[in-house]
C-alpha cells in the first residue's frame, strides 16, 4: 500500500461547477492520462406525503470519514490502474439541484476509469459515516438512508 497522506475530503456547502471545471483544467498538464471519469452526486427533490425535499444538510463523523475515504482511495489504487483520483463531499446545507459529491478518476485507459469510478462511489455510499438530513419546503425533515 502506498503511503499517501490523509486528505480532508469535506467542503462546506455545495460543490460549485467552477470548482469542477477548474479541477478538469488542472489535469491538462498530465499528458499520460488518456481518460477521465467523473461522478457528480446531485441533491434530488424527492417527494414524501405531498412534501418536497428542498435541501439536504450533511453532517459526518469527520475524522472517521476522512480515514474511510483514505482507505477507499488506497484500495482503489491497488485494484485499478489509475493516474490520479480526487474525492470531494459537501458538509452543511446543499440545495436541490446542487452538487454534494464529486469523484474524479483518471487513467491512461478508459476501461479502468469506468470500473474504478463505480467502485469508489459504491464504497463511499456503504462505508463512510456521512449523514444527510432531508429538509422539506415546510422546514420539517427526515433522515436519509442510502438504498
Amino acid at each position: 500500500m502506498k503511503n499517501r497522506k490523509i486528505k480532508n475530503v469535506f467542503r462546506e456547502g455545495a460543490i460549485a461547477s467552477q470548482f469542477i471545471g477548474d479541477s478538469i483544467a488542472k489535469h491538462q498538464s498530465k499528458t499520460t492520462i488518456g481518460a477521465h471519469s467523473i461522478f457528480l452526486g446531485q441533491v434530488r427533490a424527492d417527494e414524501l406525503e405531498g412534501k418536497t425535499v428542498s435541501a439536504i444538510e450533511y453532517t459526518a463523523h469527520e475524522e472517521m470519514a476522512n480515514i474511510k475515504f483514505h482507505e477507499i482511495r488506497e484500495t482503489t489504487f491497488e485494484k485499478f490502474n489509475l493516474s490520479c483520483m480526487h474525492i470531494y463531499h459537501s458538509l452543511g446545507l446543499v440545495k436541490t439541484g446542487e452538487i454534494c459529491l464529486f469523484v474524479f478518476v483518471s487513467s491512461p485507459r478508459r476501461k479502468e476509469v469506468f470500473k474504478a469510478l463505480e467502485f469508489v462511489v459504491e464504497e463511499i455510499k456503504a462505508k463512510v459515516p456521512v449523514f444527510g438530513k432531508e429538509i422539506f419546503e415546510d422546514s420539517s425533515h427526515q433522515w436519509k438512508v442510502n438504498s
Binding site: A60, H61, E63, K125, K127, K133, W143, K144, V145
Partner: protein, 77 residues
C-alpha cells in the same frame, strides 16, 4: 471509568447533544448500550452501529477506548 460518547444524525436529535462523558463500570459495548437505552428509551428501536477507535466494532466487543461513536445508517453522496 469515563467514556466519551458521540452521537450523530438522528441519534443526536434523541439525546439532544452531540457528545457527552459518562462514567461506566460496564465492560462491553452492549452493556454500555443498555445503560444508554435506559437513559434514552427511544434509542432502543433505532438502527445504528458503534465505532471504537474510529472502526466499527461488534456489540460484544470489550470497551477499550476512551471514546465511542454511535452511527446511524450512512447516507453520504
Amino acid at each position: 471509568m469515563d467514556l466519551k460518547i458521540k452521537y450523530f444524525g438522528l441519534l443526536a436529535e434523541i439525546t439532544l447533544c452531540n457528545e457527552e462523558v459518562l462514567e461506566f463500570s460496564e465492560t462491553t459495548i452492549s452493556e454500555v448500550l443498555e445503560v444508554l437505552h435506559n437513559k434514552y428509551p427511544s434509542l432502543r428501536d433505532k438502527d445504528f452501529q458503534v465505532a471504537q477507535d474510529l472502526e466499527i466494532v461488534s456489540k460484544d466487543s470489550i470497551v477499550s477506548a476512551t471514546e465511542i461513536a454511535l452511527l446511524p445508517p450512512f447516507s453520504g453522496g
